[in-house]
Symmetry: C2
Subunit: 481 residues, 2 copies
């Protein structure tokens, strides 16, 4: 039984989802606030999730030929200003360095909000010939955007991310890479984070500052709000022309490169919390759980109990090179308190072992997601735990997909559209004429935005849900984080 005290400490989702989220983030010890407004401390439990995300995403990048680099964190003002749309999008929200040591700087430097301009400046010299292409570089770093409202993981003034920046010989190759990385992101979300996503293109209103096309993956949180979980941009040759990035082709002619960029951030941790969490706290998909299995000894002072707990830990962690991440909670807290802590921290499997279990040659496995208790013979505990983790990973995705599908609605008229966003929470699919005016009206009226024009289009109706003119695209709409 979970200890009441710890559980009562968090607000229920039903009561106040935003407060539930903040409570989980604090009680699961993922994050702490700091004296630096809008910036957070990633505590060990929070940072360890990010390390697991990094490792698995980075492996997937490298399989597609990505190489990691590191560029400076500062951008001279003149460099930021080279691409018109880009500077307009970012200048209002950057932090400016004006002094180095005791001296004022000759030119202000901004702390990178994103690094397109730095990569362009680098590629300008590094790319000379078609033999130098493609460049498929990525960096893991932190970036700064001077946001007014901040929320742990979802929006903070400094956040951690990866930003890929590529340069290609042709427009086709750039488009191919843009889509390839969006697919890497989508598969990563589904296979590792157990979060299903909608792949699609952003409207012009919502696209990245300076991009020709922005593609996105959109996920639905437990409260029915949408979260943009990764984006991939095709810049065409716009930046190349602004920065003069040219190469000599096979026919010895000068050509502009075609560029892309793509990024995912620590916001993903927020997505994991809001897709899988429940009223007892965090629920982590096994693949991003820093501790996957916690062995909790019952009546641990009784002879042999702790030794058996350590033995199980050893056996599980060494099972067939599975590298399962296992710990024993041998602290002097009560079993009930330990159970609650395991739940709060989202540890996927709890193994309970006490004198009675030992006498029967058994232990109890408890799933974090369904709370199902499974009696398991001690002989094959490692095999059962490994199987259980795989099952949980798959079923968590399945449940999230069902939730998403159950909260995806169709509107054919503005009445239906308004009614859905008033009465329900989720994605609404509706037809759109393609004009930004209708997006503006919808945003004004209902505080919802176009999330994406999905790759998988349906013709739900012939006319735009807003203006009634001929429809151009089916759009997913939603309330955003």
């Amino acid at each position: 039984m979970a200890d009441k005290k710890l559980v009562e400490a968090i607000t229920s989702m039903e009561e106040d989802f935003a407060q539930w989220y903040t409570d989980v983030v604090k009680k699961a010890e993922l994050i702490d606030y700091t004296s630096v407004k809008g910036c957070m401390v990633f505590k060990p439990a929070g940072y360890a999730i990010w390390e697991l995300i990094q490792k698995q995403l980075d492996e997937r990048f490298k399989e597609t030929g990505v190489e990691n680099v590191y560029l400076p964190m500062f951008i001279p003002e003149s460099l930021l200003e080279k691409e018109k749309d880009h500077v307009e999008g970012f200048a209002p929200e950057v932090a400016w360095v004006t002094h180095g040591g005791l001296q004022p700087l000759q030119e202000r430097l901004c702390v990178r909000p994103t690094s397109e301009t730095l990569f362009c400046d680098f590629y300008k010299n590094d790319v000379q010939s078609y033999r130098d292409l493609p460049k498929v570089y990525n960096q893991w770093c932190s970036v700064v955007r001077w946001e007014k409202e901040t929320r742990p993981f979802l929006r903070s003034r400094e956040f951690l991310w990866q930003e890929g920046h590529t340069a290609h010989a042709t427009a086709e190759e750039a488009e191919e890479r843009t889509i390839q990385m969006l697919n890497v992101y989508a598969k990563f979300c589904e296979e590792v984070l157990a979060i299903p996503v909608i792949k699609g293109q952003k409207t012009d209103k919502e696209k990245f500052a300076g991009a020709e096309a922005t593609y996105t993956i959109e996920a639905l949180m437990h409260d029915g709000k949408a979260l943009q979980s990764g984006t991939s941009h095709n810049f065409g040759d716009g930046f190349a022309k602004a920065f003069g990035i040219q190469y000599t082709d096979r026919d010895n002619k000068l050509q502009y490169v075609h560029q892309t960029s793509w990024g995912m951030t620590t916001r993903l941790i927020g997505a994991v919390i809001m897709v899988h969490g429940d009223d007892s706290g965090l629920v982590l998909p096994p693949l991003v759980a820093p501790t996957q299995v916690m062995v909790v000894p019952i009546q641990q002072k009784k002879e042999g109990v702790l030794d058996k707990a350590y033995e199980l830990k050893e056996r599980i962690s060494k099972y067939e090179g599975s590298r399962m991440r296992v710990k024993v909670d041998d602290s002097d807290k009560s079993p009930g308190w330990k159970f609650s802590e395991c739940e709060m921290r989202g540890i996927p499997v709890r193994v309970e072992i006490g004198p009675k279990d030992m006498a029967e040659g058994k232990c109890v496995l408890v799933r974090r997601d369904t709370r199902e208790k499974i009696s398991c013979t001690l002989d094959n505990v490692e095999e059962e735990v490994a199987k259980l983790l795989r099952t949980m990973q798959a079923e968590m995705l399945e449940r999230a997909r069902n939730h998403r599908d159950e909260h995806t609605y169709v509107a054919k008229t503005m009445e239906e559209f308004e009614k859905l966003f008033t009465e329900k929470a989720g994605f609404v699919k509706a037809m759109w004429c393609g004009n930004q005016e209708c997006e503006d009206i919808i945003k004004e009226k209902l505080s919802v935005t176009s999330r994406c024009m999905p790759f998988e289009q349906d013709k739900l109706a012939d006319t735009c849900v807003c203006c009634g003119k001929p429809a151009a695209k089916m759009v997913y709409w939603g309330k955003a984080y």
Copy 2:
């Protein structure tokens, strides 16, 4: 035979060591300069070395119970000023952020030059009881120090590093952790980077701003200059008192914590270059070589040669789960050019395979460090390569140790001391009275600094090499980078 063109492109070490260093850094494509003065681009070959350092150092940290976290990159001015010695040491060389977006900030923020003050601010709230101790946290990040003179890897305005920050219940525990991490650093340098180091304590003049004691590992470069390669600081309770970090002990009394910090930086890459490199370029110890083995096909258009090269790559990379990092250079460059590139990039083992070798059932292994050529039967190439990499790793350390020992001198009088630093390049061991005046005189006269008071002390003489007063400590002296 190495292609002349590429080799001629670098200055010889003998002629101009500093220019040789810069040439290697550029030609091995480790780094590029940027529009941001004093900041560098880590290109793929350079960053991949850092990734290997990070991975192996991080594993060693975690074995000692270190947990990773991430704290903000900004420090409010008032926070930086809380510890007097610390702010005096760092304020003259920090970058100041004064504007966020279009608004001036109410309080200036500096970009972290190091994060003691942020960790203190965090621990102040996070540590309440003895149950919360010890805190053994580390972060991997970039820091900024507004240096006037910069050199790739050795000194730049922004650099990458790890910084460990711990808090302990007692002074003894803090001292123990300080020494423990210095030992982790020393073993890492020897076992992974093949760089022998001298472990010791910094004099008061050279210690870290705010520390009670600074310990260091000092390495000797090929040109006889010393490089501080890692430091570990014991702060006692100085920071705790300045920041009010107190905990309730077992007797319910309020106590101050005792703190440490320790760091290693991308400067280690500079050390690897300057300890192992030669006139053909970089020489990488196998454990930090992004590519450990390059298979170079000879007459690759002849039937079966490329296939055999790919086969060898497969076999070597899969050998007994060794995870050797192997590539095939199947580009259309000449073999000679490929050999030169392998050498310039420091790839430990080159495997040459051509029609003649194949007919004889053999291939040729070439060691990067000694350039020795070894004929090897194709049947056991993977085993031979694995063995060779281990041998090289050990012998490179041995050679570096011999070089260091051969360039470590003893001075008993000021005349000897001056003569050694005029005629030789290396470490000089000499006795010291313990007064900073003598350090100042020596620095003034000979431009050498006290590197450390080694843990392994010898009584070389009874009197200080400078003033003739009774000697307190044996000191390693050297010219620093």
